[in-house]
Symmetry: D2
Subunit: 357 residues, 4 copies
């Protein structure tokens, strides 16, 4: 392989993925190029592989990666060559009007426009990757943190925390979280961090239930044994919870969030509902025919150096450790196997770690 080329894991065509050789990217004035040291596969990557999210053939997959600064554009400040950095899965410009309004996920006036990796440009499941607006998006990683820990800041914790933030919990509030995959588990961590008084996690897989408990869930509801709506109402004396989080992306869990919340409750969605080709339905009576004071919010990872730094700080001082979510570990050569396992969810996989070194 020539000195200026690298290996990249790409979408060849819908359903087909693999490693190809690509040129190492060159930075424009506001860009940085990062040499990847570790990455993780996200369920969104699998959606992309399967064509649920449509991207250009040949694009490099992946949006959860950490590494070291390899090259920087002339206008990039505040970073040094060789510095260890984390990059969020969403990399907004922070300068357009949507970003200035605070909706950085919706960068450049485009719905989900901050989701650059894979969707608008190459992702970062490659030996090197380009980061636009590098000054706003690269966060230094403290020596006390491993790559493994830092990776969780790039997407899972940031997204799960967003779900918890949109739940707008007052201290001691009650919350139900539908599904305990990596995002749901991160939402559980987030709700514990925001001072929930009762966290009810809905999940049937034993290892996920165990992690949910470890991360702060007070009660687990197994929807294969219990009707979760009925059970959550029981657990809250018929009142319902102050907030419900949808971290799965199915019509059933979406509708359940309305049924389990009390008047004035918040519904916080981080599930992706692109799988099913029909409108989301809000059941009328639990929504008070439009007058229940229920609030619905749906968002995604906000990105940015400042948010990354805050999430990393929670790990630096030992207040959060998400690494038990990592069920499997692979070398770069084994990425395709990691993708396939994420598709089938076999062997209880939650998050696979990919080591580049």
């Amino acid at each position: 392989m020539a000195d200026d080329t690298m290996r990249a894991f790409v979408l060849k065509r819908v359903g087909e993925v693999g490693v190809v050789e690509k040129p190492i990217p060159e930075p424009g004035p506001n860009d940085a190029v990062v040499r990847t040291t570790a990455a993780m596969v996200c369920t969104t990557d699998v959606h992309t592989m399967k064509g649920v999210i449509s991207v250009a053939p040949g694009v490099t997959l992946g949006h959860e990666a950490v590494g070291v600064v390899h090259a920087m554009g002339s206008a990039v400040e505040g970073l040094s060559d060789g510095e260890r950095v984390a990059v969020a899965g969403v990399t907004p410009c922070f300068q357009c009007e949507n970003c200035q309004r605070g909706y950085t996920s919706q960068c450049s006036g485009r719905m989900m426009g901050g989701a650059v990796f894979t969707n608008q440009a190459d992702g970062n499941m490659a030996e090197y990757f380009l980061v636009r607006n590098a000054r706003a998006n690269l966060a230094p990683i403290s020596e006390t943190l491993s790559d493994h820990q830092a990776l969780y800041a790039t997407d899972m914790l940031s997204t799960g925390f967003l779900a918890a933030e949109h739940a707008e919990l007052e201290l001691g509030d009650t919350v139900a979280i539908f599904a305990q995959g990596a995002v749901g588990l991160s939402a559980t961590i987030g709700c514990r961090l925001r001072g929930a008084g009762l966290i009810i996690a809905v999940e049937s897989i034993p290892w996920r239930q165990e992690l949910a408990r470890r991360f702060g869930a007070d009660v687990i509801v197994d929807h294969t044994h219990d009707d979760p709506v009925r059970r959550i109402l029981e657990l809250t004396d018929g009142q319902g919870v102050d907030a419900a989080i949808e971290a799965l992306g199915t019509p059933g869990t979406w509708e359940a969030t309305f049924r389990v919340t009390k008047p004035g409750g918040r519904i916080s969605n981080v599930g992706y509902h692109g799988d099913v080709n029909e409108p989301l339905k809000i059941p009328l009576e639990p929504f008070g025919y439009g007058m229940s004071d229920k609030q619905v919010y749906g968002g995604l990872n906000r990105g940015g150096r400042e948010r990354l730094r805050r999430i990393l700080r929670l790990m630096e001082h030992g207040n959060v450790d998400p690494t038990p979510m990592t069920t499997h570990e692979f070398g770069f050569d084994e990425i395709e196997r990691a993708f396939r396992m994420m598709e089938t969810k076999e062997d209880g996989i939650i998050k696979p770690l990919i080591r580049f070194e």
Copy 2:
């Protein structure tokens, strides 16, 4: 008629209304009895008359009234006999947990539990009416205000302002308001008061269009001539509005609010969706498959003396005058005719004023 009886306008059975004689109510320790001087009919009363909202036969209708304090319970403070007072259409206790959380419309743990008049007890379309939790719910009316003006504080302005508040406008934001009935017009007033930079009102009836302009709409879209979604996108350079208000209560306008808002936009519902017996549908693509940062809120009149006082203050200093919305005026003897006109909306009726004296 005996000294201790009064005339009340009641629901005899679904579809049948009329005046009956009832005893003048006696106050409990925290109650007040108000002698009615003026009232207005609300579209909700018509829903009740038609059975869309189910209430007990014989109940007095109405929830928009002003009058003078006739009698007070032993524990009521801060009011004097004979004082002119306004009472909101929603009369929460302000003491239960939902009220303490700030969701006073959802009083006593019941969805819309603050809607006491007509729904849980007699309404106030009678010569006298009882107000529970009087200390929290009666607001003195300044001498400079007419009964006519004060009536608008009891429901229309409070509800329309709520719609504007949930639109969470930043100064100069853009907003579209679907329908310019009395609540929609009040939302227009509210959005102007919150500093909207562009108010687009969707309405086809000429007098309502004229009022919308007078109350602050910058552009009127007539949905009988134009597709409002297309037109609103055009008017905002394809970006969509920062917020959309649903003040009608139909599936079509509800769905349109999602289509006309930009990512990060707010959908504020004050339409009652109990007419149609099916779930509310959120179109997927304009909702970003759950990830658009759009926020949905549905509520109703919050009630309470403090809110009434603030709304009355806006009229006291001449900053707001909603009375042009009053298209018709009746004596108490003509109430049924007012109800029938509100049902058919004949003669361009918006709000009918009922004088008791």
Copy 3:
């Protein structure tokens, strides 16, 4: 002692306290009478004893107590005789305009008007005590909680949590807390519950330092060895913290909060500054000459059943245990000794528990 009398611990005159006999109170329509089972002494009680806070001679002291419902007024709903209840130190009406605005501590238009116990009526360091607006202010205590635990909800946790709430922490934010008395320690618990990324506690007394660590402080700064301003800036790479909490009530700690916060930082005061008879001073340069985007907030315990319930819930599920703050325990006969120790702070006293049974 007659059947209708009780023992009460009162302020006889400034500096002199002791037990007297008083009639057991009778409830008005909205009141309840509680038979006390346990109480705690607060530093505010000591201020009152010393005359810093001026009250009527003969008034019963105390505002942190739990017990069982002994009698209820005719209009009180939602409670049963004999029910175990907690009552906050601040008992607002929740119906006046300040309460409706959400400023329940400032009830009835009076600064700190919600502080009824001792200041406007008898406190609750007596065998029985009267609670006004009982429906809004009494919270049932779950069987799983001890009186000892529930007592912390009445003032210390509620006040410390308020400090944390006014710090408006984003997940991972940095915060400095000045002094780790019972309120400061409760603020430390509160900041951990809100997801602080770095909590710096300023304290010199070893047992308080130890508790601070146990409750979540990441770093302790001993102001008798280090200049806390310099040290906090060092610990934050010269940036300052996102928020600083003043939990002592001295001019020096107040001014320090401005010096240690970054631009856009929050200063949250729960210290009582009535001891020193001079204005509070804001140092100009750290306040950006008025333009630093720093936000200053000073409040007190908000009270109310709903807040109590949320705080109790945090203890019910084992997420919070403040009882290690209790350094001493006394019977009712020994209350005066507890007061004297709170005055001198001898023997490392933080909170003394008074058992009535």
Copy 4:
């Protein structure tokens, strides 16, 4: 004068200002160069001239200007050569951590770091000026707006609106604004836009009083005839206002804001307190000894294209017209005279407009 030079109005040394020749600036990759068409002088410029704000000799003065795009850096998007643009007086990067936290005025971790013009680089009282981070900071001006109108968006309205935003007004709230210079008048406009129910403006100069009335003040208090604290309390039935705005920068008006606000009130500072070399004093009793629930906020112009666009929009649709504040007009050759008049405030000057063409 050579083709590549321009005239600039500079600070020669403290107290001495004048026109010099300078090279026309060249843009870096993220910069733009604007050819100035109109500008205004700000009181801050006078502070700078007098040395109260310390800057490097030779620096170009001014930070309120509009013009047309003359040149752009290679990485600047979303603008065209020759486009008419407004630039805020504060030009943040929007990418550093303080900007990402939303405190754009405090850009780059520096207190008031967004105040680039004059303080960190040349101002814009020159025939051409350089704008850093142009993409985030240049806002197109609609054809329907004059340069004169657009100039008000760059600082006066943005700063006055910030004052109104920090007053956190609910609809119908009461507010007192201390001083009706250009910023105070803009705050009056802002409070009217946010739906204040009663605006009390404190001012003694007749033309300013007249403008205050025109822009929405309901009552004028002349502090040369009345004690404003006493008068404001009278006007609010002894309750005080919900919010007070300090738009002057003197110890007396600062302290008055605490005395006129009710418990739970907001104090919003936009006055610059660098003139007097002593701490700001908060009077104890009106601050409830730290427990009044009063909130204090001090900030400055936030800058940015998105905010500019919203302010411009309010003028485009005729909802705001600040131009009556312009009392004088000068050519570029007469700038020094405008500065001297702003220093002495002679001839009732409020804002002088400088035309470059």
